[in-house]
Every structure is written in structure tokens, then in C-alpha cells.
Amino acid sequence: MTPDEWTAVRLSLLIATTATLCSLPFGIAIAWLLARGRFWGKSLLDTLVHLPLILPPVVTGYLLLLSFGRRGPIGGFLAEEFGIVFSFRWTGAALACAVMGFPLLVRAVRLSIEAVDQRLEAAAGTLGAHPLWVFATITLPLCLPGIIAGAILAFAKSMGEFGATITFVSNIPGETQTLPTLIYTLTQVPGGDAAAMRLTLVSIAISMLALLGSELLAKRIGARRQTA
């Protein structure tokens, strides 16, 4: 593999990992709100979260560009106040991936939170645990398999994200060129087939490893619960 290809692989892993880890706390919070909250506008929030799943990725990317671009209302504010820039940076690619993977993450976590027996939470409350503690020591550990599944889904989605990324942060080698965008570029130039094939295999390998890893992790959690 050429250095450019390695760079794209590294960048993809960095972007996907960042996107997954950064969206995890928000994803869990939103999932909890949707699973347990009773508030006005809940279905609106639900729809909003699911929007990236049903919109064309290009549209999501364009909306990100409009709002998080250098001249966008949010992007401008973040750049001026905190010096955080998204447009045409790998951080922007991570943001695009996080947004695209968010519905998958929230869905998986929400289902697992809904499956947690609320009577156990009530029991923890009677033992003196503050609701936040109950969440940290009972709810969270019990829905860990769902969180892992959601994180893996979000990670896999990030590894493959194309439309929103290329629309929002373009396809700059060394900065925003990820595995899928590089493969796309290679298929557009003569003689790029071999390299595209190599990267395709790498892509498949990473996805399978991620899936395998999550299975192992889920099994270990299950086993610990049985025997420990």
C-alpha cells in the first residue's frame, strides 16, 4: 500500500473512533430521554434524531456545511469563541460521521434502556442511591451490551460514511480523505482499480474485526454476569 493509502486508513480510523466516542455520551443521554422521559416535543426530538437516517446523506452534509461552515451560524460562533473549526478539517469529517451514525447509536441504546427493569432502579432508590447513581450503577451496566452494539454500529457507519463527509468537508488527501472517498477517487482515475481493490479488502477487514470485537465483548459481559 502506498503512503497515501495508509494515511487514508489511519485517518478513517481516527475519524470513526473520534465520532463514536464523542457521540456516545450525547447518544446515551438522548436515548435515556427518549426511553424514560415524558416531556412535550418528545416525538419531535425522536424525528430529529432519526432525520440523518432518512435524508439523503448529501442533504445532511449540505445542512452541516450551512450551519457548521466557517460562515454558518454555529460554525462561525465556534471558530470565533473557541477556535474550533470544522469545515474542510478531519474534525468536520468526524462531525459528519457522528451525525450520520447518531440515529443508529440512539436506537440501539434506547432499546436496551427500555429493556432494563425499572423495578430494579426503584429498589436501588430505596437503598439510598440518588437517581444519578442509580443510572450509573444499575441502568448503565445493565444496558452495556446495547451500548456496545450501538457504538459498533456507529463506528461501522462512520467507516463507510461518504455522502455527508464529501459534501461537508470535501476530499482533501491527508485531511479529509477517508477510505470510502479515496476508493471513490481511485475508481474515477485510470489504473486505480488495483488500489481500490486493496482498500476494499482493508475496509472489509476492519468492519469484520469491529463486529468480531463487539461479539467477543458482549460474550465476555454475558459470561461475567453468569459466573462471577
Binding site: 427493569d117 423495578r119 430494579l120 426503584a122 429498589a123 436501588a124 432508590g125 430505596t126 437503598l127 439510598g128 442511591a129 440518588h130 437517581p131 447513581w133 442509580v134 450503577t137 444499575i138 451496566p141 445493565l142 454476569r225 453468569q226 459466573t227 462471577a228
Partner: protein
């Protein structure tokens, strides 16, 4: 400790209106399912917020809707043993036990350390196991220990034995008795079993359709509680064990009783609960009958019931005994208040006290 409850709560068509004060010891909330026992306990535990009313421990309000007081469950320090134990499946028995212990550090109330509780409940060998691998009885013992270790000011038990079979029940009852007698924690105990209440309760609160119909010491209240069948409780004491026939001989105000061997030392106090339908009456002392227990008494009152039967209240040397006969038998024997009779007791539920 004193617990005062005076609440009014509506849920759909069901209305719970309850007012009682629980003294130290074990207070049994007794009633059919659907009578509002669990709702009442949940209000005390802070799992339900009542529409109106007041709940206070030692004068300290936990709920007072007039003054806008509502102490959340996690700050009440009221232990709760649920019918379905509710052990945390991802934690070992040890960590389940210690879950509430940590939050209660520095708090007063009944002191309970792990060693004492393990010894009290006999769960030392379970510490490293996981809840999945425990039997129903073991789970309930761990759940009781977990509640105790949170140093509660009051322990609520919502039919803790209901999901267990007879053998497992017999396994746990002594632990609850020890809890009542040794740990000194007041207990509010929900049950619809006369046997459990007879054995455990100090005070009985009877509920029906969301209201409290009677409150008082167990001896006075239980016969009313067992309204469907009727019955009476005798305070007795074991005087000797008959090894040959595997019997225990008891002495009560009403006379001597012979019962299947009890697992208690000579001299131990026992409560004998005798159901009204298990008592026959005879005008002469019956000879040559299979029943071992015949008590002499005098008819105190006769109350006809709706179903061509009558409840006869007997005074046996100061102790009260109930008998249920058909109206025809009453007529045939010409039973009237004041008449001396012999009560043949067919069977006795014996409860150690």
C-alpha cells in the same frame, strides 16, 4: 419508632384512604389482593406520591401534601424487601448486600454490619455467587440482608414469601422472627396469609377495598382477619416433647394440647391458631375418639352467619376459642350462651412466637 400514616390516594376507580399508626415490632398489613396494601407500602417507601395526606416517622414528615413536603425514596432510609427480591443481576451477592451500605455511611439508625447480617440470615456461603444461581429462598434472604445493611429506620416487606413454596417459606420465617426480635428494626409487613401474620405480627392492620377496617394487637384482630373461616389464637408454652409419638405437649390457659413435634425447646412460647371449622362441640366429654385435643369451656356467644351456620365463641378458662357449626347442629344440641361444652380440636396451626 413510630410510623404515622394518613393518606388519600386515587388511582382510576380505586381509592385508598388509610390512617394508622404503627408501633415498634412487626406490623402486618393484612387483606385480600387488591385491597391496597402494596399501594400503601409504596406510599410509605416513597415509590408513590399520594394525592393527599401525611406520612411521618417519629414525627418527622416524609410526605405532607399540605406543606408541600415530599422526601424522595433515596433519602427516606426505609428498607424495602420486594416480593420479587429485585437483586441486581450484574452484581455478586456481596455487592448486592453492600449496595445500600455505602450510601448509609455516617447515618444513624439500626447499626448493621456485614458480619452480623450474614450471620443473622445464614448467607455467608453465598457471597461470591450471582443472583441468577440462587434459589428463591436464598434470594429473599439476600434481599432482606441488603435492605438491613442500608441501615433503615423502618423495613417494608411486601409479601416477601408469596413467591416461595411451603418449604422455602419455613426456611425464611425464622429469619424474619429473629429480625423482629434481635435487630430491633420496626417492620411493616404485607401479607394475605393468616399463618404468616399469626406467627410474625405484633400489631395487625386489616385492609379491605382501600380502607383500614381494624387495627390492634394480633390476638384481638386475627380472628376478625380470618373472617372467611374464623378462628382464634391461644398463647401457649411447650411443656415437654413426646419422642415416641413425635408429639409436643403444650400448656395454655384453655388446657393441654398435643401437637405434631415442634422444633423448639421446652419452655418456648408458641402461638397456636385454631380455625373455627376445625373445632367440633360435644355436650359430654367425648371418650374413645381419635382427636387428641379436647378442651372444656363454656359458650360465650352464638352469632348466626349468612349461610345457615353459626360462629360459637367459647370461653375456655379465660381463653377464647371459636367454633363454626351448622345452624342445625346448634339447634340439635340446644346450644345457648352459658352452656358448658367440650371442644374437640381437629387440627391446630402452630406458630412459634
Amino acid at each position: 419508632m413510630s410510623l404515622e400514616v394518613d393518606v388519600d390516594h386515587r388511582r382510576g376507580a380505586f381509592r385508598l384512604q388509610a390512617r394508622f399508626t404503627a408501633a415498634p415490632g412487626l406490623t402486618a398489613l393484612f387483606g385480600r389482593s387488591g385491597s391496597g396494601k402494596t399501594s400503601l407500602v409504596n406510599i410509605v417507601g416513597g415509590l408513590i406520591r399520594p394525592d393527599r395526606g401525611r406520612v411521618a416517622i417519629d414525627g418527622q414528615p416524609l410526605v405532607d401534601t399540605d406543606r408541600g413536603v415530599f422526601v424522595p425514596a433515596h433519602r427516606r432510609r426505609i428498607g424495602y424487601v420486594f416480593q420479587d427480591s429485585r437483586l441486581f443481576p450484574h452484581l455478586s451477592v456481596r455487592r448486592n448486600l453492600l449496595y445500600g451500605h455505602w450510601f448509609a455511611r455516617g447515618a444513624g439508625g439500626a447499626t448493621a454490619d456485614l458480619g452480623t447480617v450474614i450471620e443473622l440470615l445464614g448467607i455467608g456461603h453465598l457471597l461470591d455467587r450471582h443472583p441468577d444461581s440462587l434459589s428463591g429462598g436464598e434470594k429473599q434472604r439476600v434481599a432482606i440482608g441488603r435492605a438491613l445493611l442500608a441501615r433503615p429506620r423502618l423495613v417494608l416487606m411486601d409479601e416477601p414469601l408469596a413467591s416461595l413454596d411451603e418449604a422455602r417459606r419455613a426456611e425464611i420465617l425464622p429469619f424474619i422472627e429473629r429480625l423482629r426480635d434481635e435487630a430491633g428494626v420496626p417492620i411493616l409487613y404485607v401479607s394475605h396469609s393468616v399463618a404468616e401474620v399469626a406467627r410474625l405480627a405484633t400489631t395487625v392492620v386489616i385492609m379491605a377495598e382501600g380502607r383500614i377496617t381494624a387495627v390492634g394487637p394480633v390476638q384481638d384482630i386475627l380472628p376478625m382477619a380470618d373472617a372467611a373461616d374464623g378462628g382464634a389464637m391461644l398463647e401457649a408454652r411447650i411443656v415437654r416433647h413426646d419422642e415416641r409419638f413425635q408429639l409436643s405437649v403444650l400448656e395454655s390457659a384453655a388446657g393441654e394440647l398435643q401437637v405434631p413435634s415442634l422444633d423448639a425447646p421446652v419452655g418456648a412460647p408458641v402461638r397456636a391458631y385454631i380455625r373455627a371449622r376445625d373445632v367440633m362441640l360435644s355436650l359430654q366429654r367425648p371418650e374413645d375418639i381419635s382427636a387428641l385435643n379436647v378442651l372444656a369451656g363454656r359458650i360465650a356467644s352464638i352469632t348466626p352467619t349468612a349461610t345457615a351456620q353459626a360462629d360459637i365463641r367459647l370461653d375456655c378458662n379465660g381463653a377464647i376459642l371459636m367454633a363454626r357449626l351448622t345452624a342445625k347442629s346448634v339447634d340439635r344440641l340446644a346450644l345457648v350462651p352459658g352452656r358448658p361444652v367440650y371442644a374437640v380440636v381437629k387440627s391446630v396451626s402452630f406458630e412459634r412466637s
